[in-house]
Symmetry: C2
Subunit: 307 residues, 2 copies
Amino acid sequence: MIDMRLWRQFAVLAQELHFGRAAQRLHMTQPPLTQAIAGLERTLGVRLFERTQRSVRLTPAGAALVPQVQQLLALAQALPAHAQAAAAGTGGRLRLAFVSTVGFVLLPSWVRAFRALYPGVRLELVEATGDVQLQALARGEVDAGLLLHSPGHAPVGLQSLCVAHEPLLLALPQNHPLTQQSVLALADVLPEPLVIFPRASLPSLHDAITGLYRSAGQEPVVAQEAIQMQTIVNLVSSELGLAWVPASVQQFQRTGVVYRQVQATGSAAALPACETSLVWVDSSANPTLARWMECAPPSAQAQSRPC
Amino acid sequence: MIDMRLWRQFAVLAQELHFGRAAQRLHMTQPPLTQAIAGLERTLGVRLFERTQRSVRLTPAGAALVPQVQQLLALAQALPAHAQAAAAGTGGRLRLAFVSTVGFVLLPSWVRAFRALYPGVRLELVEATGDVQLQALARGEVDAGLLLHSPGHAPVGLQSLCVAHEPLLLALPQNHPLTQQSVLALADVLPEPLVIFPRASLPSLHDAITGLYRSAGQEPVVAQEAIQMQTIVNLVSSELGLAWVPASVQQFQRTGVVYRQVQATGSAAALPACETSLVWVDSSANPTLARWMECAPPSAQAQSRPC
DNA sequence: TAAAAATACTCCATAGGTATTTTAT
DNA sequence: ATAAAATACCTATGGAGTATTTTTA
């Protein structure tokens, strides 16, 4: 592979068309430039300049190379700046995984703010469930994930930043008798069949929900399992059962489903809530991730302790 | 500017993620590679690899550089081949000037044949009158020109290849009384007013035409001058006069104009004809021009002597 | 203990410098 | 006679090699 230095010498000489001046611009003397160009021509097997003692002209082959070489030099020149931008987090690439629930409000505004501040960063967004995100993080396939968990139960062994806290609501088919009431009593809800995600996909929240039933001396009746919140709401609409869902699921606007708050009767356990956290592997330390966190919704800023 | 060698070492190490193997692939030993990468990181001021005694990983900044560096290397790798293609005439650029009369039949088929054989060449075509072409050739702004001249009067001081020989026809407005005859007598034509190009733009042909008149003891009556053949034909259609034009001008398909052969009566001088030649400056010797001439219409091949 | 990166040093290839020659205007 | 490229020869930087040390899994 031909050295950069030679291409730079070629480019300058092609501009100056004068060995002396070109050498001056290259901070060297004329003889080594003569030899360098001769060497370049020798290795290419192509005459690039037409020397006529008194003047230097490009051959057609030489002229054809000029734009290509200039492109090469421009690219090479830009590389250090790119590297530095990537190191500062104002360039490079940021790969984020997110759960569908954040895709409607939280993520769009966050992305908008980030792109305005750091247009040089290529954002790669992939939707994935929480457990898939954790695998991807472990394999280094993404820089961070946005996932749901029960308050105080952010994934272990990872750094995290809580960006949203929301109550769980009950999703019901719109013609269900309980929809008559604006706030439901927990005791009325417990016997109803449930649509719920499998425990493996979101253990902390699954445990919080089933724990709620067990502390009331009941066992939840699982009518159907589904992984995506979107699917769960669709199944509720199909009247397979009720579902506990984060409040932000209301954004899905699925017709045929209504959402209700549930009131814990008497001294029952606190009703489960849900947090959304940005999680990442500490060691991966992508500096761009720090820039991303600067753009987190204001609610998160106060909570930058591990939640 | 950072050396090519360093970027190649970076690229290979980024692939192998192992100093020993990378060094092997680079045909060197491990220690200098370690130092080279350390030097690269030092000059960039950016850590590119995360070394943990037992394994090497890319930092996010390093990962961000990989595609850019690969692009750089691909470009650099391709340059020698480009140079060689340009030197062989199968690449690079060919700038041709042509007169409008060849733009209808001769040039399109020629270009088609050339592009089929040498797709790597960027053809730059500009329409220009003959005298403008000669200036452009002298300034090195085009590699060759296609222009008209009187037989045996190709521009002096230039190389040329005759690619077409055609008679001059007389263009008349369609309602002109002479159009009744299918072949005109020269004596009938000589008194008619003419539309003709200025002598400066095409001296040899201008002289041939005026010479025809003078050898019959007449002076041509110039009704109007115009440079482009297209314009001349338009002016004939506007009934400003008749015009001597190369037969290929019939391709213009201008309505309101008809073309007639003229018969020299008795012992008069031979009727003027017209040649189209490819002309170029010998010294410029663009190898691509040789490829272009290989594709010249077959009629030209036999006439590759200076015409 | 073994595998891999880092360090220390040595050497030589070559990029660049100086002096000079050639050549065409 | 002059300006510019080519040639000859010299110097020294630094890229690559060998030998060795360090480190952690």
